[in-house]
Symmetry: C2
Subunit: 488 residues, 2 copies
């Protein structure tokens, strides 16, 4: 199939560090240099400046914003934030920790998750102080609100098995702005960066880190208007340069299955440059195979009464699973072959990109039309219907409200296979960091003078993405990086 | 559950390179230094010496052998080797390439696979010249021969869908030795290392690479009897130090699902040290999440007439799939919950480690006994039996010889879940190398003076392991590394 990726890598070696003695002259100096002005970079810059450091931000694009500016601006916070309380929801740090530990796959990074949860409520207050407004209104639907509501569910808190492992609470915090709120969020944060006295230089493409003879990060090497430039960082460099979904070579080497997602939830800046700069300075890149993958559409309630099946016409997950987890399961565990099977009672033509719809007067006809093995879909639906007639789903534990027998002809199936419909993805792997946002090498030792946040750092959510953890982590660990680099 | 891993990492930072100017004196010098005396290291040393270089091998254990010495010694070769022809089998480079490309998951490394296949027949001849004997006899069973036969199938060449994508041929080449032939293979290779005039120093634990000011690898820093020692490599260093399955911290960070495999097909030397040394010198570690995972036992023909089911009592793969691929699917794609369901006609008590056996007079009873949702197993078996009655398996395409209805009570199920039975695993991720066995950095540029082979380098088989590719790659790319380092 056609490859929509921008496949050419921006020229220049990024993973070979530049030696201090090869620097002819410094173009500029600062206590702290921040690479990239997305959510992580903005919060790092604000906090470093507020901690008393002089701060220089280098941004490759002509303006700040990064991938957050093209996102919905959702942030996953909890443990009893002011917004949760204002909307009438109780939450605790332990419930948030419990949910994230349970939903983040084997061997989650417990220390990072715990820090994220413990700092969450105070960090939300800080964002409000930066001028980001949130409306104290809960949005009960299971898709992005077109309105200004501030709080919703964005994970699998209410879904089996997580609903039984930790007390559910809505944790997606959304800035008060109709529609996609990411650009609005970045506008507020960048205004604070500017008012904090941070120097921002745009159109400055960072290429590599400058290391002194002891292996300490001493600055950044960049290309500005075709000219090589070096910038000295007296205390530290913070890499906030995004993920790598738009670097064809890195995706092939590290996360080949993510190629199946044809929409990149990213900007062209997400070419892995920040991660490669960090690797070149001795940082370890971990969990690089993981990504967040969303379904081509988020099934409205009607469609959740249907069933997802794989190429063997088997069900494989509860249909009310959150779209992030659903996409991950479909694309990474089921080889990207997925259909949503419906009867006439729950059929609804969804708005989604690409895709084909099959129909049949009987299940046998539908089965044949799709090309499933004879009897396979009929067998799956028969078992599902047998349980659904009692209002139960003992196999996948879909919530009772979406369980109903599929019995009313005609029957339909929406083809959500990766080459028919468009999945959206971004990467979750990146540089290993500790809870101080310091970059770690392959032995777990700190790379002196180097910090990372945002998608340049490995996520807590790998696997098991709940929406909002990316900007949540970016803003929190960006701040932590800024504070620690300023004090270094 | 109890953690059987040796969790303590051998002390000493390996990923921080040592600077040339910090080396007080060289303990020894050679044109080429080889780190590790397993299959890759032995072949690298022989070839480097035969190319005219002086060669020093540093081995952490008290003798050579590595993981190959505790393996079955199987090597995956093809394209028409002398042994294939002597056993009456035709094979071609294109069929071997076709099979490996199809079975190695999305985005296989085509250039490396092609080199492996093109060099395969001549490389087999070279091994014979080194004194490794192979008996020209084909072993037709689907498990390891207890005898001396030289050739067998060790992958999914005969299994759907691969049998239709490339002409099958047996490609597992086994040294002529009863039982596990790995130690025998290493004995032959090490004898050649010695007769080639290579210097071997055992009990020498390499810690890090020595880099000159230009970033070129200039030697190795090691610890010998508690003392720091530096060794100069005039032309290059070849890392052949195994994988990382025995490093708890690395498995957690890079390949957390492999923790489910309780048996490590490895020695204690497989602690990732070689990979970390390479990362420290600027090398990129890729596909680090992948591993080879084998089922707790290789089902004899009788048991292949049963069906594997997951926690939802669904089938998920053809039961005649090769044990390597089966283990990978079971552990990585099905969350490690797997049962083999049988009727009385095909039941046989297998020899395997751990595990429980459930039984029932009816499928309903068996279903309840295991704890499957009511009707789930009955539904799966009914569909399977309906097709099997016609000798077909249109859902998973098991070979017709193993297809039969499961109808004769009592029924049984062998619990092969990861916490009940013992899966064996080793890692397949490692340093990125090109077909010259040179280590590459995150930009794909060569790290000067550094080579890698064996499980320290990322495998062609990730995912989709066919047994024998590890020692096959180790011996071939070890040789290629030796030749290129000697000529550098």
């Amino acid at each position: 199939m056609a490859d929509a990726d921008p496949s050419a890598r921006t020229p220049g070696r990024t993973s070979e560090p530049r030696r201090l003695r090869d620097v002819p002259a410094w173009e500029a100096e600062a206590d702290v240099i921040v690479v990239g002005l997305g959510a992580a970079g903005a919060c790092a810059a604000i906090e470093a400046a507020n901690t008393g450091a002089s701060v220089l931000v280098l941004e490759r694009a002509s303006g700040g914003g990064g991938t957050t500016a093209v996102s919905d601006g959702m942030m996953y916070f909890g443990g009893g934030t002011a917004l949760q309380r204002a909307c009438g929801f109780e939450d605790s740090v332990e419930d948030m920790v419990g949910y994230l530990l349970a939903s983040s796959g084997p061997e989650p990074d417990e220390e990072r998750i715990r820090t994220y949860c413990e700092e969450s409520a105070a960090h939300f207050d800080w964002l409000v102080e930066q001028g980001v407004p949130f409306k104290a209104e809960f949005y009960p639907e299971r898709m992005l609100s077109p309105g200004e509501e501030g709080l919703t569910y964005s994970g699998n808190e209410l879904v089996h098995p997580f609903r039984d492992l930790a007390k559910p609470a809505p944790r997606a915090h959304m800035p008060q702005k109709e529609g996609q709120a990411g650009a609005f969020l970045m506008q507020k944060l960048i205004a604070r960066v500017e008012s904090a006295g941070v120097e921002i230089r745009t159109d400055s493409l960072c290429e590599s880190l400058v290391l002194d003879d002891g292996g300490r990060v001493a600055g950044v090497h960049a290309v500005v208007a075709g000219e090589a430039r070096d910038y000295r960082a007296r205390h530290g460099v913070i890499l906030c340069a995004g993920g790598f979904i738009n670097d064809r070579a890195m995706v092939k080497q590290y996360a080949p299955e993510l190629r199946r997602a044809r929409f990149k939830a990213a900007t062209e800046g997400d070419d892995g440059r920040g991660i490669r700069m960090g690797i070149g300075a001795g940082g370890a890149a971990i969990r690089m195979h993981m990504g967040s993958v969303t379904l081509p559409f988020y099934p409205p309630k009607s469609l959740m009464r249907g069933i997802f099946v794989n190429r063997s016409a088997q069900r494989f997950m509860p249909e009310d699973v959150y779209q992030g987890r659903a996409g991950e399961i479909a694309l990474l565990k089921q080889d990207g072959r997925v259909w949503l099977v419906l009867d006439d009672e729950c059929f609804e033509r969804p708005v989604f990109a690409g895709g084909e719809i099959h129909a049949g007067e009987t299940l046998a006809e539908l089965e044949q039309e799709i090309g499933f093995p004879a009897g396979a879909l009929q067998s799956t639906v028969a078992l599902y219907n047998e349980h659904a007639a009692r209002g139960e789903d003992p196999v996948f534990h879909k919530s009772a409200e979406y369980v109903k027998p599929l019995v009313t002809p005609p029957f339909g199936a929406i083809d959500l296979s990766w080459d028919k419909a468009i999945y959206a993805a971004f990467t979750l792997g990146g540089l290993a960091t500790n809870v101080r946002a310091e970059v770690l090498d392959a032995d777990g030792a700190v790379v002196p003078g180097l910090y990372a946040a945002g998608r340049t750092a490995a996520s807590i959510s790998s696997p098991g993405y709940s929406s909002g953890t990316s900007i949540g982590e970016a803003t929190l660990f960006g701040r932590i990086a800024g504070r620690n680099a300023a004090r270094a």
